[in-house]
Symmetry: C2
Subunit: 132 residues, 2 copies
């Protein structure tokens, strides 16, 4: 795997070596989640065709779905005008991107001055990850 | 304007007092841009119904469209599972979100190992902002 490809060099990583990644369902257009990537995760994503992020909490690469099997097949990758944000359009295997068992992480909407849950849990997180 | 509303307190701002905001066209579902918000910009956005961000380069509030007239009317605001990312669904007045004169900032796509421009300029930036 080559980390110094020209197209990767064009991405502006921040002082921590990270770039924000917006993750959108390629078919429905729904924004599913938001994550961070470093140079290595970008390269691995391109190489494997499956989304690999950098987990700031675990301080390591995170192959999305590595535990649950809910991998994300990357259909396209886009870069913004400042070269410092990525947009991944993906197919979500299993249909669940959020660790709460919902389709997307953005399941709360501001209604009448409160964050109200609009999306139901589609699968019990325990059956996704096992009881830990 | 009250900055300490309960729903704003529920947002996890980072160490710099900022939260990432993904900006999506409410109708087409296209992801238009990415910006940052602080507590005050979130409150102003909710109060006025128009997107107000925090510009890190200018270190001040940035009422999107203040100069060009291309304001963003906020149709809905969503919060992610970790409470640290916002999703704004908006109507883009003038149809141009990017300072390059394109509909969206994500106008480059990775094709054959290169970032290739897929979106045409819809309006000359000079006619949007004037020659500066």
């Amino acid at each position: 795997m080559t980390l110094n490809q020209d197209w990767i060099d064009e991405i502006s990583f921040d002082a921590s070596g990270l770039v924000p990644a917006i993750v959108q369902d390629a078919e429905s257009g729904r924004v599913l989640m938001f994550a961070w990537m470093n140079r290595e995760s970008v390269a691995k994503t391109a190489q494997t065709g499956e989304a690999v992020y950098f987990s700031r909490s675990r301080n390591r690469l995170w192959h999305k779905g590595e535990q649950s099997g809910h991998v994300q097949k990357v259909k396209s990758m886009r870069l913004d005008c400042d070269s410092d944000v990525l947009l991944l359009q993906i197919e979500q295997v299993g249909g669940i991107a959020c660790h709460t068992g919902r389709e997307r992480c953005f399941y709360r909407k501001l209604i009448d001055g409160r964050w109200q849950i609009t999306d139901a849990v589609k699968q019990d997180p325990e059956t996704i990850y096992g009881s830990q």
